[in-house]
């Protein structure tokens, strides 16, 4: 193999310690000479072993291949593959909180081995096998007593500020992370947070005073000082842990909570739908599944029965939070719940639009589940069937889709407050629109309901 086969990852350019690249569809990380001492210490100090055994750092193996940039290279590693890359603006409150606490736990472990985190980006954390894991092996550097934590600002902007805003004001403010790629500016968080947060010592120090201090020293040279003793740094980490630990958000307190208790399915219909979803997923032989509009993940679990991994998307933060809590409680590593508004899915953002991938870029997958979804997109968002079909064809090979007709109580409710301009919304039009992109393999009316479930195969 020659370096000519390599493709560098577009988002891997900030840290001069190394970079990620693909070769023969395998992901590698080149470690540069400039990072040599830090990498050797990570491996020899016992820190790597401790963190990988605890499931907090992605394991890797050193490989002997021709480096992509031989002039800079020290060594090349092959990290374990993460099947689906997600971003902080797609996480629910609980996921961001767990990612923050994991980052602090890693920082404490690093200090115990004479190292420190040199960055604390939320994008360095991924959910792998049901738990948050640090994927950037180059995030550590040798600790020099006396130096303040270089990633303190980044930690507060990526984790503490969004969690505080979500907890104190509105959980939807987590979406500010989609606009502010390097975390929410602390002066913005301090302005938005209620005044009472100044009486919380961790929030007073890490958000309000922090924002004031940043404003005061703006444009002044970055300096370090020998005065910050190790115990002071431990105190800072402990203070941040207290700040994060005290922040909570309960989906039960929101206006959405009751909505999910109301379904227009009888037990019999639910059972039949579950059996059909399981049978269709098996017939498709799907190993990778996206459940779009997954709600609390009931049908994601049915589809995941045969060992497939499922990313369960929903636009409702309460549903995603409930799903995530259930996964944690049941140690369900097959399901990854994520927040996504299908009418405005995650775009490619950051430098040159390629630093963070769009939703569609992360596919296609073997199977998409689109259950109780079509009416929300076709009537709620006025998307014609042919455009819906084109979208699904770009995301999957197999499609399990539920058609909800106009005489269904949910559709009646949607149309009760607006003019019915949806003459195209019939079962025949639905099949015609989707047949341009898919072959209908199976079709079954769901018992004790007016809905129909289809299994389709992309043409």
């Amino acid at each position: 193999m020659t370096p000519g086969n390599s493709t560098r990852l577009s988002g891997s350019f900030r840290d001069p310690s190394g970079f990620l690249f693909y070769r023969e569809q395998i992901l590698y990380r080149q470690i540069n000479q400039s990072y040599r001492d830090h990498y050797d210490l990570l491996m020899s100090s016992g820190l790597y072993r401790e963190l990988t055994e605890a499931g907090m750092l992605i394991p890797h193996e050193e490989v002997h291949i021709v480096p992509t940039d031989p002039d800079l290279a020290y060594t090349t590693i092959r990290p374990e593959t993460i099947p689906f890359i997600s971003y902080p603006y797609e996480w629910c409150f609980g996921q961001l909180k767990d990612a923050a606490l994991t980052t602090l736990a890693i920082q404490k472990a690093a200090l115990a081995h004479g190292m420190v985190l040199k960055d604390a980006s939320a994008y360095n954390i991924q959910f792998h096998e049901g738990r948050p894991v640090l994927i950037d092996t180059l995030s550590f550097e040798t600790y020099h007593e006396g130096r303040p934590w270089v990633a303190y600002r980044q930690f507060c902007q990526h984790f503490l500020a969004p969690l505080a805003l979500m907890s104190y004001l509105d959980v939807r403010l987590g979406q500010l992370l989609r606009i502010h790629l390097d975390g929410i500016p602390l002066d913005l968080a301090a302005t938005l947070l209620p005044k009472r947060t100044r009486f919380s010592f961790p929030l007073l120090t890490n958000i309000h005073l922090h924002a004031k201090s940043q404003r005061h020293y703006e444009s002044k040279p970055v300096t370090s000082d020998r005065q910050m003793k190790r115990q002071g740094l431990m105190g800072l980490i402990d203070n941040l842990e207290s700040a994060i630990g005290r922040l909570n958000w309960k989906p039960e307190d929101t206006v959405w909570a009751d909505y999910y208790e109301i379904t227009n399915y009888s037990d019999q219909a639910n059972r039949h739908k579950t059996e059909l979803v399981r049978a269709y997923a098996q017939k498709a032989g799907a190993k990778t599944i996206w459940d779009l509009g997954a709600n609390d993940g009931t049908f994601s679990r049915a589809a995941a029965h045969e060992g497939a991994s499922v990313v369960a998307f929903d636009f409702d933060p309460a549903a995603v939070e409930k799903n995530y809590r259930a996964c944690r409680q049941n140690h369900d590593a097959q399901i990854l719940p994520l927040l996504l508004d299908l009418t405005n899915p995650s775009p490619g953002i950051g430098w040159s639009h390629t630093e963070r991938m769009s939703f569609i870029e992360r596919g296609p997958v073997d199977l998409v589940l689109a259950l109780a979804l079509v009416h929300h997109l076709a009537i709620g968002n006025n998307v014609p069937f042919d455009q819906l079909a084109a979208f699904f064809a770009a995301t999957c090979r197999w499609l399990v889709i539920e058609f909800v007709p106009k005489n269904d109580s949910q559709v009646k409710r949607m149309l009760s407050t607006r003019e019915d301009v949806f003459d195209f919304y019939t079962g025949e039009d639905f099949e015609r629109g989707f047949s341009a992109f898919f072959t209908i393999e199976e079709k079954s009316e769901i018992t004790d309901s007016v809905r129909t479930l289809y299994l389709m195969n992309r043409r």
Binding site: S17, K108, D119, P148, S213, Q214, V222, L233, G235
Partner: protein
């Protein structure tokens, strides 16, 4: 609120004095001067509180018979 503003003003003045003992830092991310100075400023207080917390846990552990180091955080 005015009381808190006075405290934060004093804290920032003290941080200005610390500039005299400062040296240049190396980092690929922007650590922000204000974030650096705030840490230096709070280090003494947070370090002392953390030490007290550990000793308090040890005292509690002595009377309860549990392992104090288990969640002492270091």
């Amino acid at each position: 609120m005015r009381y808190l503003a006075n405290i934060s003003g004093l804290i920032l003045c003290a941080a200005v004095i610390m500039l005299f003992w400062a040296e240049t830092a190396q980092a690929y991310i922007d650590p922000s001067s204000g974030s650096y100075f705030l840490q230096i400023l709070l280090a003494g207080l947070l370090g002392a509180l953390f030490t007290l917390k550990i000793y308090w846990r040890k005292i509690k552990a002595f009377f309860s018979g549990k392992d104090a180091d288990h969640d002492a955080g270091q």
